[in-house]
Symmetry: C2
Subunit: 128 residues, 2 copies
């Protein structure tokens, strides 16, 4: 493990005023979006060079190796920045539930979409 | 369309210091994570009540109905908050590419993961 994030990557990254960027975590195979977390440069460096998802905990103000206390590890298979270079997508193998509540994904609080438009119907100009 | 976001949802939401929260956008069917964008309460209200993904553009400082200028619409099929109620997952039907660069997903700038750990191997205690 080298000492710090590859300067070529660091030069591309865009961070918020706290030096952080959001990370979308997706499960390999199922495609399930497990959670959204935050990283700084060092967390990204540790993640890329250890293969273990490592975040910056905003509430605790410290690095957080996912699964270190819960046993619910995330083994990183791939990582990609978005076109604005201010968000990261991690593809992981998840051990156990990703969410501290015990659900597989953290995104379980469903909101009502009161109007659902149908893409096909729109494209066809169907007046129904 | 009612005038503002359902107070029961507004009371649950947690926003950053700019009144915004990150939104992960996933394509229905393929499971592809298309992009990450930002919303405020009004953008979420418009999204839920029109079925068209509507974001807050931080660079332009205005609401942004995805596809309004590009034709690359997002028809919202489902929405869910995460356990911390500070991030949203949208499931959409995407018309054309989601990314302004013309790629289907915005997450196309692959970063090298220099150590990939194998979940199964670890679980089995295989010393390789």
């Amino acid at each position: 493990m080298t000492e710090q994030l590859d300067p070529a990557i660091a030069a591309r990254l865009r961070r918020n005023e706290s030096g952080l960027f959001p990370v979308v975590v997706q499960e390999r195979g199922t495609g399930i979006v497990l959670m959204l977390a935050w990283m700084n440069d060092e967390a990204l460096h540790r993640t890329l060079t250890t293969g273990r998802a490592t975040y910056w905990s905003r509430s605790r103000g410290q690095y957080w190796v996912k699964g270190e206390t819960s046993g619910h590890h995330q083994f990183v298979q791939a990582a990609a920045l978005d076109c604005d270079r201010d968000a990261l997508l991690l593809t992981v193998d998840q051990t156990g539930p990703a969410c501290h509540t015990g659900t597989h994904s953290c995104f379980s609080d469903v909101l009502p979409v009161t109007v659902v438009q149908d893409q096909t119907r729109q494209a066809e100009g169907d007046p129904r």
